[in-house]
Amino acid sequence: MRLRGWGGVVLAIVIAVMLVLPLVVTSSFAVDILIRVLLFSFIGSAWNLMGGYARQLSLGHSAFFGLGAYTSTLLQIDFGISPWIGIIAGGVVAMLASLPVGWLCFRLRGPYFTIATIATAQVLMLVFLKFRDFAWGAEGTTIPNLGYAPLMMQFETKAPYYYIVLGLLAISLMITAWIERSRIGYYCVAIGEDEDAAEAVGVNAPRVKRDIYMISAFLTALAGTFYTQYIYFIDPQTAFNFSVSIEAALVSIVGGIGTLWGPVIGTVLLETTSAVLQSRLGNSIGGVQLTVYALILMAVILWRPTGIMGFLRETYARRKMARA
């Protein structure tokens, strides 16, 4: 109970710091890094519902990221609809898209499922590359810059973007915390542990996986819209970039899959490392950033497969036991 009390205090401090941070940090480079950290924490936490709790290792979440990005952009450019509405529409499109994808892929287990999700995202990218009259093809398009237009999700400074993505992350963390404590959360973990045993105690595994996939897809699509609005540009290569899928899984695995804060902690570690490396070494040694990434991942998988959260939990349990 005492720890929970302290946890609440720490959480309140973190929230307060996050809220005032853009007022203190004025360097736009630094705010940009913060936005990236929050964005990937958000994508990671959306991925984590599916890949972490239910252990359905998807490497195709860029499909939903891209669908979200394209839906809101098409609505905005072709129909003048605000991205604030487009972001929800994108979420719904991704949610609907997850139904056939899940229906096809869920009959596969393990690596076959993973490969099927990769293929889905790649196929979507090819679709948007080929059909040029529908969505600008390979060149993509820029988002018309309206200057300061909050109703169109456009701002002249970076701080508002920071608060939007902070809000998105807060929403997905709250959803995750709620799921963790409710029936669907228990069912997801049970399916991840042993699908047959879960079925034997009445868990409708295909339905639970479908539901969690829909939630995960919806949230991931929101990130797609946000990112497009933030960089004012969209093309199939950025919207359906494989590295989004990888990053979503990576930050969760490093931080600790199936834990509330795992994706956030993983992103903070990986993004800061990569930002520091890039600013220190620049482009003097090509690929060093990726090498370090790979080393961190290998270290985690070899020594701490439960991620940083798992490591912290074990340490805490050991200390508690030593005290008792």
């Binding site: 049970a190 042993d194 047959d196 045993a197 009445g202 409708n204």
Partner: protein, 248 residues
């Protein structure tokens, strides 16, 4: 007494192997029926057919008046049938309480209600002291207890126990026998697959013997132990102490 489970002409083939051939038997409400036979006789396959883990080639399984052949395992479970697995399948990373709550969620959506139902089932199998232990850290007998508690939490009318005593020492077998007796007193209908004859004699009033996928005998424990064909196929002349660790 009414019929809880009626199995008619049940058959299942795996490639060239006839795992279950034309098996018929009936389980009455509140009785404990034992399904015995040598390794590979088709006992676990029969369980898998009843619970929907395999699809029967032919035949029917009627539970409480409803045809369950062709249903998915979770639907069968929702109708009031629960099982344990021959090789325990706990949700290893979850605590004992979370494991059993997962079962309890079938009847109660609210976590609080599920938690209290789960605690009841955990208490019933005598695992309360281990409530917050991760399932993978339990001993063999405690994992079996956990499986029973998890199955019980789904509020079944019929419980299928697949070799819950395999790998237990004699003292633990006594505990397990007592637990099965307690379940039966609670009004549960039980079908038990077991190799430990001592345990079967203690809990079952009715025995069905399978060999090579076929039913070769059925009757009271006394009739079964005196049946020459059963002695030849399974029991042997000195059957009383069948190996406790045997598994099929």
């Amino acid at each position: 007494m009414a019929d809880a489970l009626v199995i008619r002409n049940l058959s299942k083939r795996f490639g060239g192997l006839r795992a279950v051939q034309d098996v018929n038997f009936t389980v009455r409400e509140n009785e404990t029926l034992a399904l015995i036979g040598p390794n590979g006789a088709g006992k676990t396959t029969t369980f898998n057919l009843i619970m929907g883990f395999h699809r029967a080639d032919t035949g029917s399984v009627v539970a409480y008046g409803r045809e369950v052949a062709g249903l998915r395992p979770h639907d069968v479970c929702a109708l009031g049938l629960a099982r344990t697995f021959q090789v325990a399948k706990p949700f290893g990373g979850m605590t004992v309480l979370a494991n059993v709550m997962t079962g309890a969620f079938l009847r109660d959506k609210s976590p609080d209600a599920a938690r209290s139902k789960a605690r009841e089932a955990i208490d019933f199998v005598g695992l309360s002291a281990r409530e917050s232990t991760a399932a993978r850290d339990l001993t063999t007998i405690d994992q079996r207890r956990l499986e029973m508690a998890r199955a019980l939490a789904t509020a079944p009318k019929l419980l299928l126990l697949d070799e819950v005593m395999a790998g237990l020492n004699p003292a633990e077998i006594d505990q397990a026998v007592a637990l099965v007796g307690k379940l039966s007193k609670r009004g549960l209908t039980i079908v038990i697959v077991e190799h430990v004859m001592r345990a079967i004699m203690a809990v079952a009033k009715h025995i069905v013997v399978l060999d090579h996928g076929q039913k070769i005998a059925e009757g009271s424990p006394k009739e079964i132990t005196e049946n020459p064909e059963v002695i030849r196929a399974y029991l042997g002349s000195g059957y009383v102490h069948a190996p406790a660790g045997a598994s099929s």
